[in-house]
Amino acid sequence: MLARLIDTRMAVFLAVLFVLTVAVPLGNLVIAGQPVPSYVVALLGKYLTYALLAVALDLVWGYCGILSLGHGAFFALGGYAMGMHLMREIGPRGVYGDPVLPDFMVFLNWKELPWFWLGFDSFWFAALMVMVVPGALAFVFGWFAFRSRVTGVYLSIITQAMTYALMLAFFRNEMGFGGNNGLTDFKDILGFDLQADTTRAGLFVAAAVALAAGLLLARYITTSKLGKVLVAIRDAESRTRFLGYRVEAFKLFVFVVSAMMAGVAGAIYTPLVGIINPGEFSPANSIEIVIWVALGGRGTLVGAAMGAIIVALSRTLLTSWFPELWLFALGGMFILVTLVLPQGILGAVEAGLRRVRRRPREAAA
């Protein structure tokens, strides 16, 4: 079983991830002089949640050919579900000191908590909702879309419309999710102060564990017979139907799993960065996820995770060094990857390695 899940690339990636998971908190909390500053911990943690989001998208796009331009929506919904719990955790410590209502509701003169906020005072309920809400949306959306055989760019465009509609909705104050400002000013999670270094390190570890678990789950799915059916759907949807597979059911399954995974990523992201707002639903955000996957290597899982980290890191660096250049760089990446790197970085590196390995053997022969 383990052998099936862990091939070379997965082994290398998990090993590096493990080293990071140990070294970063150590460097931040234990080693004198704090060689790893606290903001770096939060930043790296954020990258890892992006990586998980990329793995989720790779599962549907890389393996099943569903190019979702709305995966940011699932991420944001997970983030909001966790954000709602964190808001309720604040309790009477808000600016207005209302024991139940979050500040923005007091500000808007709301008298009581809307029904959809009920239950979020419990962490475990919130943790469940982090997966249930994105999963339910994916189920409803996918059920309609896949059953009526909307495919290709049409599907991409309506997933984009989905996240766009949600963005507009969440911008409204009346929705009860903090409108423009979103949810922020969190105090603590499970009783731990969100400003404390230890909590941040804990969240970083949680992100790393979630990423590893997500990768292994995705790997389990893609190496199973179901994974082969997904590939069959991607390459020859019609053929797969005539083989007797109910294509829409498979698509729905993988779409829902992927949405849940994205939701978990969003849920860890929110406490790490301390805010979740409707901007996360913007179509541009969702398209950017696609480039993470494409850059790293579509259909490789590990590559997708790498791609997310590479793009996020270059964004951090470039926007602070040459802010003017960032969009050129990002735009260039989209063009470059589609034109000359269809296999992504991982694909190119592995092809390179194979060539290097083959050459000495050929020389010997």
């Binding site: 909307v150 049409y154 991409s156 911008f171 480039i291 969009l327 589609t338 034109l339």
Partner: protein, 556 residues
């Protein structure tokens, strides 16, 4: 007796040596005498313009208000200027001789003249004069009075304005003047306005029931919000309640109808914008199966071209400003079209048959174009002006139509018809359709599909540029301009059905009107969300849109 006491010195002054013709002096002297002799009860008979004006400086505000009304009723040609000076606070009483003087509106120091004779009295000295004061309620009365004066103006436009002002004030004191004006009026539009003003005045007066009923009918026929406002105070009047209720109901129905018409218009206007933004997209998607995510940025380039053209005109040939859009349109087409051809040859060409990759690559291009424009023109909104013929609005029945929206609608339809012509009637259009329907066959028949592709993409892009020229007139010109239209224009294409211009037309106008009809109930944002949800559901039912191409060619 304020009145007579004041007329005396003024009369004396006017008769001063060598200033006025003798006849004038005699007349004035007579007036003064009459004024002196007249008993208070008979004062009305002596309400000459001169005596009224002379009386202005004394008394309370309410006395002054009565005087103003009477001055207006004299219909004296000097009254208008006098009343205007009064509201502007340019009317004074000279302390030395109690003469009422008008201070010139301009000049430093300003000159002054006699308010009645117009005689030049030299430089105005503020200390030697007392201002004839006005307060707000008086100012309102003066405005009404000025309005009534204009009722007899020779310019029909002025008379119409005066009638409208009379309507708004609804003062029964105007009745006489209105009746007089109405009997003399020859212009039908002005006559209607006068009749309506008269109706309001009658309702407010103590006239008999029959006249009031007739007045209600007049207002009912007018049927707009103002008529509604004029009628509603009488809703509880026991004598009139029934007739008023009927009239109000009829007005409301009419209003609802006009409101609907206005919504349709807003919807058509939004639809025309969507059509412009989407039609280029429909071409590239339909003919080439290419999703061009950079289309919004091509629109933006068109808008910035307009901006650049206007800048150039502003600095070197300001007289051409009204022509700026006509100059910008072809330029925008060429700029956006050229960029489109470059995109096609440089990137899209290598990705045919891989629509998802094309989508990503063109998205990358869109990001770069955005940043390029941001670097060159700055991140802020740029000011693009409306030429004279694009600004302002006109009334059509109960709805308001702005010129810029109307021109954009016309422009969108012109582009649509032009495109239709191009596709149906020209060799290039024939080749494009051939490539759409059967690419390999078209290639075999000697059509250079590569050239057709480049031209098609360029055409779609160029139309995006034209859309930008139009959008610059109603939206902020910023590097984000394109982003705000991209989702909507995709919805139009998907809803209408790719590859069909009629689909784009139907899609754009349906979505535009649907949006505007939902807005009053749901609010702008929710309306948009509902439309998006509707399209998402619609796509499930008809995955290929409203006007889908069918048959084998599409399946393959």
């Amino acid at each position: 007796m304020i009145f007579t006491r004041q007329s005396a010195p003024r009369g004396g002054e006017a008769a001063g040596p060598g200033r006025c013709p003798v006849a004038w002096a005699l007349t004035l002297a007579l007036v003064v005498i009459l004024g002196l002799l007249a008993p208070p009860q008979a004062r009305a008979a002596s309400d000459s313009f001169e005596s009224l004006v002379a009386a202005l400086a004394g008394g309370s505000y309410s006395d002054r208000a009565k005087l103003v009304a009477k001055i207006a009723q004299t219909g004296d040609p000097r009254a208008l200027g006098l009343l205007e000076a009064l509201t502007d606070g340019r009317l004074y009483q000279r302390k030395s001789d109690k003469r009422i003087v008008t201070v010139a509106a301009s000049g430093k120091p300003p000159g002054m003249s006699d308010a009645i004779t117009g005689e030049d009295l030299g430089v105005f000295n503020k200390r030697a004069a007392k201002k004839v004061k006005v307060n707000n309620s008086l100012r309102r009365k003066i405005r009404t009075a000025i309005g009534l004066l204009s009722l007899t103006s020779s310019d029909a436009q002025d008379r119409l304005k005066a009638a409208q002002a009379a309507f708004a004030s609804g003062d029964p004191a105007q009745l006489e003047a209105l009746d007089a004006a109405l009997s003399a009026e020859s212009d039908r539009g002005v006559a209607t306005a006068l009749a309506e003003a008269r109706a309001v005045a009658i309702l407010n007066s103590k006239t008999g029931l029959a006249e009031k009923q007739a007045a209600i009918t007049v207002l009912k026929q007018r049927g707009d919000r103002d008529a509604q406002a004029a009628l509603s105070p009488f809703r509880d009047d026991p004598a009139l309640a029934g007739a008023v209720a009927v009239a109000l109901r009829s007005i409301e129905e009419r209003q609802a109808l006009w409101g609907m018409a206005q919504n349709v218009w807003y919807g058509l206007s939004l639809g025309s914008v969507l059509l412009l933004a989407a039609i280029g997209l429909a071409i590239t998607f339909g003919v080439m199966g290419v999703i061009n995510m950079a289309h919004g940025e091509l629109v933006m380039l068109g808008a910035y071209t307009t901006f650049a053209v206007q800048e150039a005109i502003r600095t070197s040939a300001p007289g051409l400003f009204d022509w700026s859009l006509l100059i910008a349109a072809p330029l925008a087409f060429v700029v956006a079209g050229t960029v489109g051809v470059v995109i096609e040859r440089g990137v899209v060409r290598h990705l045919y048959g891989r629509p998802l990759e094309t989508l990503l690559a063109t998205w990358g291009i869109s990001l770069m174009l955005q940043q390029a424009v941001r670097s060159i023109f700055g991140p802020n909104n740029r000011e693009v002006g409306n030429p004279g013929w694009m600004s302002g609005a006109f009334e059509l029945g109960g709805m308001t139509i702005t010129w810029n929206r109307l021109w954009i609608l016309i422009f969108a339809l012109m582009v649509f018809v032009g495109l239709l012509f191009l596709l149906r009637r020209t060799a290039m259009g024939l080749q494009m359709r051939a490539v759409t329907q059967n690419r390999p066959m078209a290639a075999e028949m000697g059509i250079n599909t590569g050239r057709v592709d480049a031209l098609t993409f360029g055409l779609g892009a160029g139309i995006g540029g034209l859309a930008g020229v139009a959008l610059s007139q109603i939206d902020n010109v910023s590097p984000n301009l394109g982003q705000s239209y991209i989702v909507d224009s995709f919805m139009v294409v998907v809803f209408g059905g790719a590859g069909n211009l009629w689909g784009a037309l139907a899609g754009a106008f349906t979505l535009g009107v649907a949006n505007k009809f939902l807005e009053p109930f749901a609010g702008a944002v929710l309306a948009k969300i509902l439309v998006l949800v509707f399209i998402i559901l619609f796509i499930q039912k008809r995955p290929r849109g409203l006007f889908a191409l069918r048959g084998r060619a599409v399946e393959a």
